[in-house]
């Protein structure tokens, strides 16, 4: 099997070891890193996403595919950096201050990574100041915030206000999500978008950035 197909199948099957070895083989054969990303990795993750949407895959298969993709990327990243090429989109993600729930946020982070985005996960209970500092330092295209509790939802607005006060709001798209969050709430607090599930969040990021 050609290395490109091997890598595609390894990611689809969530096999990190095979993804790593297939990437090594492809690079040794002279395949350019960007070709591996464009011809194997992104199509594989697109197929994983399709299978998840069709309820053929559950989150474990999705995350294992993401892990396989990361394994391959660990070989490609240094090569891309050396050649001056960058990942196209950078996202900062976190659960807002006062909220320790992070499963939903972790799923979104993994799906964004699986879609080829660079994701910086700030963790849970993230203060507005920490979000602001991350935006200042890392200059992401997108900030994603999650909350599970009704009483921590207001921290999303506090964070957006903090970005505004720091003069950063126009430089970044803000997405919110979580069980009690609604699209109406997103509008009320000035977020750019809301998704009710993880796969929707990925599509939303893509569509928002396409508008830029």
């Amino acid at each position: 099997m050609a290395p490109l197909n091997e890598l595609y199948d390894a990611i689809l099957n969530g096999d990190a070891k095979k993804a790593h070895s297939a990437t090594e083989a492809a690079l040794a054969a002279g395949t350019p890193p960007m070709e591996l990303i464009a011809c194997s990795m992104v199509p594989a993750m697109d197929e994983v996403g399709r299978l998840f949407e069709a309820e053929e895959y559950f989150v474990p298969e999705l995350l294992l595919a993401g892990r396989a993709m990361k394994s391959a990327m660990s070989l490609l990243r240094p090569l891309l950096a050396a050649s001056g090429q960058k990942m196209s989109v950078r996202a900062v993600i976190g659960t807002v201050k006062g909220d320790l729930h992070d499963i939903g946020k972790n799923i979104v982070a993994s799906m964004l990574e699986g879609s080829g985005f660079e994701v910086i996960d700030l963790g849970s209970d993230v203060s507005p100041e920490k979000f602001v500092a991350a935006v200042e330092e890392l200059k992401p295209h997108v900030v994603c915030m999650s909350a599970l509790l009704t009483v921590t939802m207001p921290a999303m607005k506090t964070t957006i206000d903090a970005l505004q006060n720091a003069g950063l709001r126009t430089k970044v798209k803000v997405l919110i999500g979580g069980a009690p969050v609604t699209s109406q709430y997103a509008k009320e607090i000035g977020a750019d978008g809301y998704s009710e599930n993880a796969s929707g969040a990925v599509g939303l990021v893509k569509s928002l950035l396409a508008e830029v």
Binding site: E55, F58, V59, E61, L100, T150, V151, A198
Partner: protein, 452 residues
């Protein structure tokens, strides 16, 4: 087992009824509503605290007003602290005192039995990896438990999170070894330690009983993710059953119930210990949807709404509306139980209604409960009991598929086979598994927090 026979497992009746609070006996033949309520979206801060207190004053007033109007035979209020109220223990204690004042006045005026369950938030996972037995979060949690007991809590409960730091990760990756390690090794070790602490706090506060725990952070997380098609339903159902063992550990350390409403593992606990349980199902749709709407009530002693926000509905406030729902549910169950054989008939109808609607319901029937409880008590350690519970759950689901009682997808059936094989391949002792798991998850948990 306290209840060895399927037909002995009835709602409203427990071999060890619990007398607590103000003239209330739970599990003595009557099912009571347990009403749980929370704030609408709002900040909890110094400058909003007066509004927070006003919400709880209003909710208690509305709930008890409806309880009187519908002539409930007794009632339990549950106050689940929000994280900020545990972080600042005095806040949780203040609300506890407010609610107890309402219940005391209600009892004195209407002579209706009542009790206040108070459930501080387990905030020990504020740092990574979480420190379970030391550190500031644990000190604040302990203080919260003490102050709530002092302020009038009749029943202390918690939804503890020991082992969750590994379980979350293992669940998301479908790693069954990690799931068993979390549920069968880490969680029971933390539960045993934590419930000794809670027991000592209750012993120092006469009138406060050591209630029970819930595997909410484990099994309900799995159930809700399965409900959203993110995890296999069969995996969530097996996780539910295996979580019984860690919840049982509270009772091994002196807890007397009632088991928490969101602990759908409650029937197994009732069968083994004979202590009363609280359950939630169709009337908890204010908080979440459920695949076990009726069957969850089949063996309950308290019937709960899980949690409702203080928002306005056409009828009135949502907490008052859901008090009415619970009150009528309980009236029907108690009316049926007043007739000869009525409780068993009603239980069987509630069971038949849902039993094969989902894997989660299939492991919740009285027959499944007795089968699972029997498998647990026949095994020795928490680790072996967790595996035994998992095997029993898989067998029940396989039987359901073989008898064409339950319809699950090909993909779900593959997961069932995968779990079946995994359960046969575990090492013979927890020490071996712990060594294996340390290599995979060692960075996620603090060994000393689990006595490892």
């Amino acid at each position: 087992m306290a209840i060895p026979a399927v037909d002995g497992l009835l709602y409203g009746v427990s071999p060890h009824p619990l007398s607590c609070g103000l003239g209330l006996t739970i599990g003595g033949g009557t099912v009571f509503p347990e009403v749980n309520f929370t704030l609408p979206p709002m900040n909890i801060a110094e400058d909003t605290w007066a509004d927070v207190v006003a919400h709880y004053e209003q909710m208690a007033g509305h709930i008890l007003r409806r309880a009187v109007a519908l002539g409930v035979p007794g009632i339990v209020l549950e106050f689940e602290l929000l994280p900020a109220m545990t972080d600042r223990p005095e806040w949780g204690a203040e609300i506890t005192a407010v609610l107890k004042r309402h219940l005391t006045a209600f009892h004195e005026k209407h002579h209706i039995g009542c009790a206040l369950r108070v459930t501080p938030t387990d905030i020990r996972d504020q740092q990574k990896p979480p420190l379970m037995r030391t550190g500031e979060p644990w000190q604040r949690l302990r203080r919260s438990l003490e102050l709530c007991a002092e302020a009038g809590a009749d029943i202390l409960s918690i939804e503890s999170i020991g082992g969750k730091e590994v379980h979350d990760h293992a669940l998301m990756y479908g790693d069954f070894s990690g799931i068993v390690f979390a549920l069968g090794v880490l969680a029971p070790r933390d539960m045993s330690w934590l419930w000794r602490q809670i027991g000592s706090i209750c012993a120092a506060h006469p009138g406060t009983v050591s209630g029970a725990d819930s595997a909410c952070g484990f099994a309900n997380t799995a159930m809700q993710l399965a409900h959203q098609k993110m995890l296999p339903e069969v995996l969530a159902a097996v996780v539910r059953v295996m979580s019984s063992v860690r919840s049982l550990a509270a009772f091994e350390q002196g807890a007397v119930g009632p088991s928490k409403d969101c602990a759908y593992e409650g029937p197994v606990i009732k069968a083994i210990t004979g202590y009363p349980i609280s359950m939630e199902g169709k009337s908890a749709s204010c908080a979440h949807f459920s695949p076990v709407g009726n069957i969850a009530a089949a063996m309950c002693d308290l019937w709960s709404n899980e949690s409702v926000q203080n928002v306005r509905l056409l009828s009135g406030s949502a907490p008052e509306a859901f008090t009415e729902l619970l009150a009528y549910d309980c009236r029907l169950m108690n009316t049926a139980a007043a007739s000869e054989g009525g409780a068993l008939q009603m239980r069987n109808w509630m069971t038949k209604s849902d039993e094969w609607l989902s894997p989660q319901a299939a492991v919740l029937s009285p027959a499944a409960t007795i089968r699972i409880a029997g498998a647990i008590v026949a095994a020795g350690t928490h680790y072996h009991r967790t595996i035994a519970a998992g095997r029993a759950a898989v067998e029940i689901l396989k039987d359901g598929v073989a008898r064409q009682k339950i319809n699950i997808s090909r993909k779900e059936q593959q997961w069932l086979t995968r779990m079946d094989e995994a359960l046969e391949a575990f090492p013979p002792d927890e020490r071996t598994l712990a060594i294996e798991m340390e290599e995979v998850y060692g960075g996620l948990y603090d060994k000393a927090s689990y006595g490892l």
